[in-house]
Symmetry: C2
Subunit: 550 residues, 2 copies
C-alpha cells in the first residue's frame, strides 16, 4: 500500500482556482457577474482574470507578494479573488470602513506591493498613502517601498478619477487572455490575508491557505445547499469580510450569478432583486431593516419565487438571521461544518473537555484544514492561538447533553462576578426583548465586593422612551439577581468598529468611571454569596449562536 | 507567508471518518440504517463501528492490513466502510457475482488478513478458500496465511450458518463502544482496495486514499445536490462497486438514511419505497425494468413525493439513467466534477490536446486528487496509467466547440477500418434503436482490405423476430457505408462479466473465426478509400456518455 507514490496526476493541490477554470469550460455562456448595465459570462470573467493576472506579472508581482485592494462589492474586487492568485500573489481586501490611519497600518504591515483603489476611495487612500510615506521615513533602515497604486474607475460610468497613471480596465486591456496563470505547487501556499478589526490591539493579519479556502468553499456550498441556478445579491457580507465568507469562490464553483451593488441601499437592493430575479442573498438584521424601512418610491415588486430560501434557510451562522428566527433554527446550530475535523469545549488549562451538562463553560476549540495558517509576522499571537494541537477561538461555550454546542460569549467579555461566570451576550439578549431597546451592550464594571459586576449600555428606539430605573426593574423581573446590571446607561449610539462590532473595550473604560464605591453596597449584598450559587443559570433559547465560519 | 507552518490544529488529514464522527454528534438520533425490521440511529451506527474496529484490533489487524468482505447491501457492509478504516486497515469489498476462482485470486493478491462472509455466500467462500489453500501450497516459499474467516449472519433473522467460530454480531458485542479508532497520520494512506472486473487480464487492485475518498464524497454530495433529508434505497450501485460510488460515505456526511435490501427484486424495492418513504435511489436501466415489469401482487402504492428527483436528476454518469433520458441531459454531461482538477482529450503520443471540433478523437486524460493511488503490487500497470503527469482513462473521446467532452468508446474497442476510427459504442446505439433488438455489441473483425471492420452481435427481444440480413439492410439505411457491420450475428445472449459488462474480448475471438477472406471482397470495395474519407462522421446525440466517477 505504501509503495504507491503521489504523482502529478493523482495529487493535485486543492485551490479555488480549479473552480474558475472549470466555470470557464462548464458554464462558459452563463452570466457570471451583473453590475448595473454591465454583464459578463463565465468565459469573459475567466478571460478578464487571465488578463489581469498577466498584467500583474508584467508589473513585477511575484509569488507571495501582497496585492491590497480598497473597494466595495464591485466586479473588479470579485475578479481579483481569482486574478491575484493566478499571478501567484496573495489577496488583501481591506475593510472600506477603516480610517486612513488603519489603512496605512495595514499597507505597512502587509508590505503591499500593489494597491488597487476604487475611485470613490481615492481621497482616503491618498491620505493613507501619505501616512505610510511618513511612517516609512521614521524607519530609514527599512527597505519597504510604497505600493504601486492602481485606480478602479467605475466600469459602468467611468469618472476619470485617477491617483497615479494606472487604471484597472487598462490592465485588463493589455493583459493576455490566454495566460494560464502561475502553477500552484503547494496547497498550503497563502491565498489571502485578511486583517482583524483590532478591537483590543493592532489589527492582526490572518493568512489563509489555498487548501483551507478550497475546503471552506466546499463547506459553504454544502451548508447552504447552493445549487447551480443561484442569482446571488451581494448585499452582505462584503467581499473584504473573510472573502465574502467564501461566497466569492463558491459562486464560481457552481457557475452561479453574482449581482454586484456599490451600496446596500433599499433602492439598489429592491431594483436588483426585481430586475435580475435574485434568488438568494444574506440577511443580517441591518439588511432586513433597510428593506423593511424603505419608503414606497424606493421599493419594487418582487416576483422571484425562491427569494426567501436563504433568509429562512440553513445558514451556518445566525449572524445573518433576524433575531426572532434564531431560536427556531437552534437545532441546526452549534454544528461543525463538514470540513472541520473536530470541535470541542475545553478547560484550556487542563485541556479536558467540559461535561455535556449545558452549564459548565469552557473555551471553544477547533481543529481542521479550513482554519487559518496563522497571523502574519506574529509568531507570538500565532502560538497563542494554536495551543496543544487545537485552535483556541477565544469564545466561551457549553455543550448540552445532546452534544450540541452553545456559544456563550467572547472569552474577554465574560463577566466574572463573585466567582460566577455571566455571559454578556445572554444578558444583552434579555435586554433586546425590552420593547423600548434598540441596541444593548453589557460589559464588566469593577465592583469592590464581587470583583466585577455587569454594566449595561442601551440605545433606545427612535419613538420609544423609558428610564434607566425602568430598565433595571425589567431586569430584576427577567433574570436572577446576580445577573442584574448594577448600572444601566442610555446612550445616543454605541461605539463601533469599522465592521460594525460594538467596541466593548471603549465601554469598559466608561464603566470604570461609573464603578460603585464600597460605601454604596448594602450589607445584604455583602452576604449573599452562598444563596447565589444555588440559583439556576438561565438559558436563553434565542441566544444560541453557531460556530461562525472562520 | 512561508513562515507559517502547518500544525495539528490547522492541517488535519482529510478522511471520510470525519463524516461518521460528525454524524454521531450532529445527527445522533436520526435513523442511519434500515434493514427489514432492524433500525439504527447514527449514534448506534457509530458505536457499532467503534466496537467492530476495536474487535478487529484485538484480532491483530494492524495498519494497512486488508480486510476483505463478500456481502450484499446489508448493514454490516455499510458499517465496515467506517469500522475497517477506524482500525487502520484497508477495506476490500469483493464483487458478489464473482466465481470461487476469482475470489481466491483476489484473496491471494490482496493478502487479506480477515475475510467477512455473508451467510448466503458461505458455500462459494468455502470453495474459494480451498482454492486459496491449494494455490498457496504451490508456492511453499511464500509466507502468506489463510485469512481469518468471520461469518455475517442475517441480523434480522439469524440462520446459524457458520464457517469457523467467529460471527459478526459477536465481534460487535465484545467491542468497545468508546474506542476512538486509530489516528490517521497521512491523508494519502490507503482506505480501500477495489478490484477491476478483469475483462482482458487478471483483475487489478485499485487502491484509493483517504484524501481521494473524502474529495470524491464531497463531489458526489454536490453533483447530486444531496440534502440532509434523504432516504436512500440501496438498489444500485452495490456497495462493493467503487464503495457504492462513495454514497456509503456521503450518506453519513449528510446524516441521511440508508435503506438496505438484500436483493434488488421488484417486491423488495416497492415495499422499501412505500414503507420507508424512500426519496432517492439510483436507477440503472435494469432497475427501471425490474420495477416496470413487476406483477401486480409485487407492487405497492408509492406516495413519496420526492421519489423521482434522482431518477431524473443530475447524475454525473449516464450509466444510472435510462437510455432515452441520456440525450436530454447531454448539456450536463462531459463535465468535470468539482474536485477533479483537469480533464482533457489528448493525442497520447504527442500529449497535445485535440482541436475542439467534435470530430478529432483522442484519449481522455484526467488529473485530480480524487483519482486512485495506483494498482496494488503492479508498478507496470500503475506507470502505464499515469503517464506524463496525467491519468490515461483508456477512453476515447472528442471535445466539442463549446468545450464539452463526449466519450466515444473504450480505447481498445475502437475499430480502425482503413484508417478511419469507428466507435463501437456509436454503432451499438444505432443498433439499439432497431425495434427487434434488445442488446447489441460491436467488435473489430480482421479484414483483409481495411485491416479491421465492424462485426455486430445482437440479442433479440423475446417477442421479436428479424434476420441478420434485415439488420444489415437497416444499418445501410442508418449509417455511412464504412460503418455498416460486415457481419451481423444473432445470439441467444451476450457473454458478460460478473459486473454485467459485455466481454468484448470473447466476442473478438468469435469475430476472428467469422472474418471475410480476400476472395469475397468486391472490386468496388477495394477502391473506395478516397470517397470514404469525405463522408460526414455521424454524431449520435444519445450516445453522449459522461465522465464516469472513478
Amino acid at each position: 500500500m505504501d509503495k504507491l507514490a503521489k504523482c502529478a496526476a493523482n495529487y493535485v493541490p486543492l485551490t479555488p482556482l480549479t473552480f474558475i477554470k472549470r466555470a470557464f469550460v462548464v458554464y462558459s455562456n452563463r452570466t457570471s457577474v451583473i453590475y448595473n448595465s454591465v454583464r459578463f459570462t463565465w468565459s469573459q470573467t475567466y478571460e478578464r482574470c487571465c488578463r489581469l493576472a498577466y498584467s500583474l506579472r508584467s508589473l513585477n508581482v511575484v509569488k507571495n507578494d501582497v496585492v491590497s485592494v480598497l473597494a466595495p462589492n464591485i466586479p473588479a474586487l470579485y475578479e481579483m479573488h481569482f486574478a491575484v492568485l493566478m499571478a501567484g500573489a496573495v489577496l488583501n481586501a481591506i475593510n472600506t470602513r477603516l480610517d486612513a490611519k488603519n489603512i496605512a497600518t495595514i499597507l505597512r504591515h502587509s508590505e503591499a506591493k500593489v494597491f488597487f483603489v476604487d475611485f470613490e476611495y481615492v481621497p482616503i487612500a491618498s491620505e493613507a498613502l501619505l501616512l505610510l510615506v511618513e511612517s516609512l521615513k521614521d524607519n530609514p533602515s527599512g527597505q519597504q517601498a510604497i505600493p504601486l497604486v492602481i485606480v478602479i474607475d467605475d466600469i459602468n460610468k467611468p469618472t476619470g478619477v485617477r491617483l497615479g497613471k494606472l487604471e484597472y480596465e487598462q490592465l485588463i486591456h493589455h493583459g493576455n487572455p490566454q495566460y494560464p496563470g502561475e502553477e500552484l505547487e503547494d496547497e498550503w501556499d497563502a491565498i489571502a490575508l485578511n486583517y482583524t478589526s483590532g478591537t483590543t490591539s493592532d489589527p492582526k493579519g490572518v493568512v489563509y491557505s489555498h487548501r483551507g479556502a478550497f475546503l471552506s468553499t466546499m463547506s459553504l456550498i454544502q451548508g447552504w445547499e447552493m445549487g447551480t441556478e443561484v442569482v446571488y445579491l451581494w448585499s452582505l457580507p462584503i467581499m473584504f469580510h473573510c472573502n465574502g465568507w467564501t461566497f466569492t469562490w463558491g459562486i464560481a464553483a457552481r457557475g452561479d450569478t453574482n449581482v454586484c451593488i456599490r451600496n446596500t441601499t433599499a433602492n439598489e437592493m429592491y431594483k436588483s432583486i426585481s430586475n435580475h430575479k435574485v434568488t438568494h442573498f444574506c440577511c443580517a438584521p441591518i439588511v432586513f431593516n433597510i428593506l423593511l424601512e424603505a419608503k414606497p418610491h424606493e421599493r419594487c415588486e418582487i416576483t422571484s419565487k425562491d427569494l426567501p430560501s436563504f433568509a429562512s434557510g440553513k445558514p451556518s451562522g445566525t449572524n445573518c438571521m433576524p433575531r426572532d428566527q434564531q431560536a427556531t433554527i437552534k437545532a441546526r446550530q452549534g454544528v461543525s461544518i463538514l470540513t472541520l475535523a473536530d470541535v470541542d469545549v475545553k478547560n484550556v488549562k487542563t485541556m479536558e473537555s467540559v461535561p455535556h451538562d449545558g452549564k459548565t463553560m469552557g473555551e471553544i476549540v477547533l481543529r481542521g484544514s479550513s482554519l487559518m495558517k496563522g497571523y502574519l509576522k506574529d509568531e507570538k499571537e500565532t502560538a497563542k492561538a494554536f495551543q496543544k494541537e487545537w485552535f483556541l477561538t477565544g469564545d466561551v461555550g457549553v455543550i448540552h447533553s445532546d452534544g450540541y454546542l452553545e456559544i456563550k460569549d467572547r472569552l474577554k467579555d465574560v463577566i466574572i462576578s463573585g466567582g460566577e461566570n455571566i455571559s454578556s451576550v445572554e444578558l444583552e439578549s434579555i435586554l433586546f426583548k425590552h420593547p423600548a431597546i434598540l441596541e444593548a451592550a453589557v460589559v464588566a464594571m469593577p465592583h469592590p465586593r464581587w470583583g466585577e459586576s455587569p454594566c449595561a449600555f442601551v440605545v433606545l428606539k427612535k419613538t420609544a422612551s423609558t428610564t434607566e430605573n425602568d430598565i433595571m426593574a425589567y431586569c430584576q423581573k427577567k433574570m436572577p439577581k446576580f445577573m442584574v446590571p448594577k448600572k444601566v446607561e442610555i446612550l445616543a449610539k454605541l461605539p463601533k468598529t469599522g465592521t460594525g462590532k460594538v467596541q466593548k473595550v471603549e465601554l469598559k473604560k466608561v464603566a470604570k468611571t461609573l464603578q460603585i464605591s464600597k460605601n454604596n453596597i448594602s450589607s445584604k449584598e455583602l452576604h449573599m454569596d452562598q444563596t447565589r450559587y444555588h440559583l439556576d443559570e438561565p438559558r436563553n433559547q434565542e441566544n444560541v449562536l453557531a460556530m461562525s465560519r472562520l
